[in-house]
């Protein structure tokens, strides 16, 4: 492109978002004086159709060959205006976006200073765009297979949606069974559907679906590649039971040399016991036992009669199994890794872990489950049925000492637990809440129903849960001390059992997952969506989508809705067939390359090879992700980066300062 630059500068008011803090007419007047600028205009909303039309018209009539739009962040509208530029007949990379909203008007109090800053950034942008070169976007095919990470309700729903659309899905679940937390619940709010009755058919459908490959007891350990072409390494932990041979008769569990169940079952949060060889719960999918190598005598000590091996009619038990790694190729990834609950020990004033009959809500779910340790009737540690139960909301939530955010689901599940406890035990139930938050279809009605059922609702943040009695009536009880903020005095309520409604937190290993997938997260650690409103399941990494509680606290309906949305986004990519890869790759100027090979070790993607014949470095463009690390590292300045060329960036830097 040797034509002298004819630049159009378009400054957006963004309603009052920019105009309110930046003197846009003054900025436009200034922009018109810059070298190479042929047209400078102000418009209310540049991203609107008429705004974009303005650019196209000027290109047509004034023969512009470069475009600068000063408006919001390139994260929001760079694609929009590149397309406008292309529609106007120019190469889309002859456009540059200057951020004067997020970068100027929204962060500056003083109007004069904001105006000067906007001018400086536009000056840099104009000088930069004059040196930009036309580039071609590369199209890469999209592998139609999808990886779903996590087999809770969100992952299950996403996998089934995709599989039903005819796509091959690889579903990886860390636990020995899919089902996630939903499998732990007895009933779900507000309809009191039986959780198993609605979940189990979906779990079975996953197992039976010809398009789904299910890897349970497995973890994704490495992800390479880019949108459309990911290479994923899955580690299958040894189950010590061969899934291909086992038919789920469970004879082996009966035959184990341990007669008693004496090891804590993680699925029951340790409330129930299991043998070293076990299935986590009766509806497990796959219904194949797993052996815990920490508990199994043979695997721990090398000495055991191996009665399980003898009992298996199909020789499915293989105590020599080792972790296996396999690689799969997929085009898109849906992350549905879920949540963990707040550790109630962090609120020592509530007595969890000290007072035996203080349990968390998740434990209460198990106590209320027909397949749980008490077969659906909550019992105290002494085996008796509680006469009175206190449910404390917001444990760890809405609290600047722990988690400042509201976990969204706790009010509703606390009401559900209140209903179930009352139904199963006839106990008096007291709910202690700060605010009752029940927005959602049928949720407020459920709350009303609970009031009619005679649940006691006390507004106030509980100060303390104690077993120190102050009166005869409190003896042998757990006492909840709370300021009843509606009645206006402090109350002491003796109960037999306390349920702590703990909030939702990111999984403990969310940071590792985030790094592996190059996702970002908010300050509380949940994965961040690309846009909170308009791209709620997309992430900053193309081709990776998020669904369910790994993105933030949410209930089952919202998780399922998000999973469907994530599946649809993946389908849209797959059916388009190809993805655009930004042409920001590094390039070697062979005549300058001394063949020192310094760059080879710098590239994190192994994209640089040494051409032994020519004795120069060579970059494989499909492998290069465009970070530019090698550009800086080249001692002979033989490498440059497209669109971020050294001379272009130097010009922008000089421009913002001139």
């Amino acid at each position: 492109m040797t034509d002298p630059p004819r630049i159009g500068v378009y400054v957006c008011d963004c309603g009052f978002n920019i105009l309110g803090t930046v003197d846009v007419p003054e900025v436009v007047r200034y922009a018109a004086t810059l070298e190479g600028v042929v047209a400078a205009r102000e418009y209310k909303f540049m991203c609107s159709d008429p705004g974009q039309e303005l650019i196209k018209k000027d290109v047509r009539e004034l023969g512009l060959n470069r475009i600068v739009v000063a408006s919001c962040s390139p994260w929001l509208h760079e694609r929009t205006f590149r397309k406008t530029t292309a529609d106007a007949g120019l190469n889309p990379f002859l456009f540059h976006m200057v951020n004067i909203r997020e970068g100027v008007s929204w962060v500056t109090a003083d109007k004069a200073a904001a105006t000067e800053k906007a001018k400086a950034l536009i000056r840099g942008g104009v000088r930069r765009v004059a040196l930009q070169e036309p580039l071609e976007v590369r199209h890469e095919p999209v592998n139609p297979d999808v990886l779903v990470l996590g087999g809770g309700i969100a992952g299950i729903h996403a996998a089934l949606t995709l599989a039903n659309a005819g796509k091959k899905v690889i579903l990886v679940e860390r636990e020995p069974s899919i089902g996630g937390n939903m499998a732990r619940f007895d009933k779900t709010f507000p309809t009191l559907d039986c959780s198993s009755c609605i979940l189990t058919p979906k779990m079975t459908a996953v197992k039976d679906h010809p398009n789904i490959t299910l890897y349970t007891h497995s973890e994704v350990v490495q992800v390479d590649g880019y949108v459309g072409n990911f290479e994923v390494t899955v580690e299958r932990k040894p189950r010590y039971v061969r899934e291909d041979l086992c038919n789920g008769c469970l004879e082996c569990i009966e035959a184990c040399v341990y007669r008693d169940r004496r090891f804590a079952n993680a699925f029951d949060l340790g409330l129930a016991k299991r043998k070293p060889i076990y299935v986590p719960f009766p509806q497990s999918v796959p219904l194949k036992p797993v052996i815990d190598s920490h508990d199994c005598l043979y695997l721990k000590l090398g000495k055991c009669k191996q009665t399980c091996v003898d009992a298996c009619p199909r020789d499915a038990i293989d105590l020599t199994m080792t972790p296996q790694r396999l690689t799969v190729q997929v085009g898109t990834i849906i992350v549905a890794t879920g949540f963990k609950t707040f550790d109630a020990r962090r609120k020592p004033q509530y007595g969890y872990g000290v007072l035996p009959n203080v349990v968390t809500a998740l434990e209460a779910e198990r106590l209320l489950s027909p397949t749980g340790p008490t077969e659906g009737v909550p019992r105290l540690k002494d085996g008796s049925v509680p006469q009175s139960v206190g449910i404390i909301h917001c444990v760890g939530s809405r609290d600047t000492n722990t988690n400042a955010y509201c976990s969204k689901v706790c009010c509703m599940y606390s009401l559900k637990l209140a209903h179930l406890v009352k139904e199963r035990t006839g106990a008096e139930v007291y709910n202690f809440y700060i605010d009752m938050r029940t927005p959602g279809k049928g949720y407020e009605e459920f709350y009303k129903k609970l009031l009619e059922e005679g649940a006691h609702l006390i507004r106030g943040r509980v100060a303390e849960v104690t077993n120190a009695p102050l009166s005869k009536g409190e003896r042998g009880k757990i006492v909840i001390r709370v300021e009843d903020t509606l009645a206006g005095f402090v109350r002491r309520i003796p109960v037999d059992m306390v349920v702590l409604s703990v909030g939702m937190e990111p999984q403990a290993d969310a940071p590792e997952v985030r790094r592996m997938l190059t996702l970002s997260c908010g300050s509380e650690g949940f994965f961040t969506e690309l846009h909170p409103k308009l791209a709620p399941v997309s992430t900053a990494t193309d081709g990776i989508f998020i669904a369910g509680a790994c993105q933030g606290p949410k209930d089952i309906p919202d998780s399922v809705a998000q999973a469907g949305a994530a599946a649809a986004e993946a389908l849209a990519l797959i059916d388009r067939g190809s993805v655009e890869v930004q042409p920001y790759a590094a390039v070697v100027e062979e005549s300058l390359c001394s063949g020192c090979q310094m760059c080879l070790g710098l590239c994190p993607y192994g994209a640089i090879e040494f051409d032994r014949e020519k004795k120069v470095a060579r970059i494989t463009e499909v492998k290069c992700k465009g970070c530019g690390v090698c550009v800086v590292g080249c001692p002979s300045a033989a490498i440059d980066q497209r669109h971020f060329r050294t001379k272009v960036l130097l010009e922008e830097i000089a421009g913002v300062l001139a």
């Binding site: 962040s73 390139p74 994260w75 951020n99 909203r101 997020e102 970068g103 100027v104 929204w106 962060v107 500056t108 109090a109 003083d110 200073a113 904001a114 000067e116 800053k117 400086a120 950034l121 840099g124 985030r514 790094r515 190059t518 970002s520 997260c521 908010g522 300050s523 961040t528 900053a540 990494t541 920001y584 710098l602 994190p604 993607y605 992700k625 465009g626 970070c627 530019g628 690390v629 550009v631 800086v632 590292g633 980066q641 971020f644 050294t646 960036l649 130097l650 922008e652 830097i653 000089a654 913002v656 300062l657 001139a658």
Partner: protein, 143 residues
Amino acid sequence: MQATVQETRFEPNIVALFCNWCTYAAADLAGISRMKYAPNVRVVRVMCSGRVDPSFVLEAFRSGADGVLIGGCHPGDCHYKEGNYKAMRRFVLLRQVLEDFGIEPDRLRLEWISASEADKVRSVVNRMVEDVRKLGALHWRVG
């Protein structure tokens, strides 16, 4: 009354080289959250802090910057795996070179700011503007 005070106050020019994935996104978040910070900083977006060539920093000082701020992802969080480590090593070396040139090394700063740390953008920029204001103008224009 206040205007006379402001007129005499030195307003430093600061160039910020922010990586696309973490610090630039954090600066966007600061905007979305309507956080106000000192207007002295001019952001230039690069894909990775590992793309920051020492010559960018020298060019900025040569063109009238009184300070340069490099922002990247936290160690271990780099979108390109390890570009920020490269940035860190180059930064240490460059500060020594600057000192040899007679430029106070504190005029160059490297900060790890993740996409969620909008508040850190505000505090880092404000602090840097104050610190550079104390150092005074650089006057290193060459040629």
